[in-house]
């Protein structure tokens, strides 16, 4: 009876954690057996997404990020987290007066959330950028664009990753 109550308690704790990690979008596997390490893992992931939030805030200086103009194309399901193709494009002609100065790709759950930070000179055409990225498990990817008039635009995309890129880091 007591053991059952203990199990219920840890279940509740895990649920509170997952509710807290709204931004992190953690998908916790709720199995029948709960171990301390699993809770520690959840807490570590929570801390990582916290780091992401701090980085996000520092980067945008808490200014408003409008979820328009920037488009992200990434597979909904990636078999292998080591190399996930990412394509980004930004609306607009990218002239000297109005262009993307900086493009930042952020991950919510990677141990180091900054994937890449890129600077562009006016490309005179619709800006398209492609790369291949590493992902530590299923998560959301943020792409933020800083325009030449210092406004932030962005887009977010979720990816399901079957095989995580860094198993060691998430333990």
């Amino acid at each position: 009876m007591n053991a059952k109550r203990q199990q219920l308690k840890s279940l509740l704790q895990l649920f509170t954690l997952s509710a807290l990690s709204r931004l992190g979008g953690l998908s916790l596997m709720v199995g029948s057996a709960f171990s301390v390490s699993k809770q520690a893992n959840a807490q570590a992931l929570e801390r990582e997404s916290e780091d992401f939030r701090v980085l996000f805030k520092n980067l945008t200086q808490s200014s408003r990020v409008t979820l328009e103009r920037v488009h992200v194309s990434i597979p909904r399901l990636a078999d292998n987290g080591h190399s996930v193709p990412l394509k980004v494009w930004v609306d607009g002609p990218q002239t000297v007066d109005d262009h993307v100065k900086r493009l930042v790709v952020l991950s919510e759950r990677n141990p180091r959330p900054m994937i890449s930070s890129l600077q562009f000179s006016p490309t005179q055409t619709r800006l398209e950028f492609s790369s291949r990225i590493r992902l530590n498990g299923s998560q959301r990817i943020w792409v933020l664009a800083l325009m030449s008039d210092d406004t932030w635009w962005g887009q977010v995309a979720s990816v399901e990753v079957t095989e995580s890129a860094c198993l060691d880091a998430s333990l």
Binding site: H82, S83, V84, V105, S107, N110, P111, R112, P113, M114, I115, S116, S117, L118, Q119, F120, S121, T123, Q124, T125, R126, L127, E128, F129, S130, S131, R132, I133, R134, L135, A165, C166, D168, A169
Partner: protein, 106 residues
């Protein structure tokens, strides 16, 4: 370390083109261990830049979230023909340089 700057076959003046960059680099995350259990030091390409005759077109900083052998592609209308120069620097202090001549036909 080698790199390639891949240009479209017949680049035309005033027409949008995609420039692709491929750099051979392990992009060690620092989270892996070798067979004896020792941690492998983090070694990623910290920064890179692509210049056209000394004028920077595209530059950036990469993190551990970029895959091994980084692939970067972007679209641009080049203002004129010239030498495209790619330079990069990694955590171990190694630098790399690759140049390619881009002749725009009208």
């Amino acid at each position: 370390m080698t790199a390639r700057i891949i240009l479209p076959p017949n680049p035309k003046a005033g027409v949008k083109m995609d420039i692709r960059i491929l750099i051979q680099h392990p992009m060690e995350t620092g989270f892996r261990y070798d067979i004896s259990g020792a941690a492998i030091a983090k070694n990623v390409i910290k920064s890179f830049s692509l210049d056209l005759d000394g004028e920077t077109l595209f530059s950036g900083e990469l993190g551990t979230g970029t895959s091994a052998n980084p692939f970067l592609q972007f679209s641009v209308i080049l203002p004129h023909s010239g030498w495209l120069k790619l330079q990069w620097l990694d955590d171990e202090g190694n630098t790399g340089l690759e140049r390619v001549l881009c002749n725009l036909s009208s």
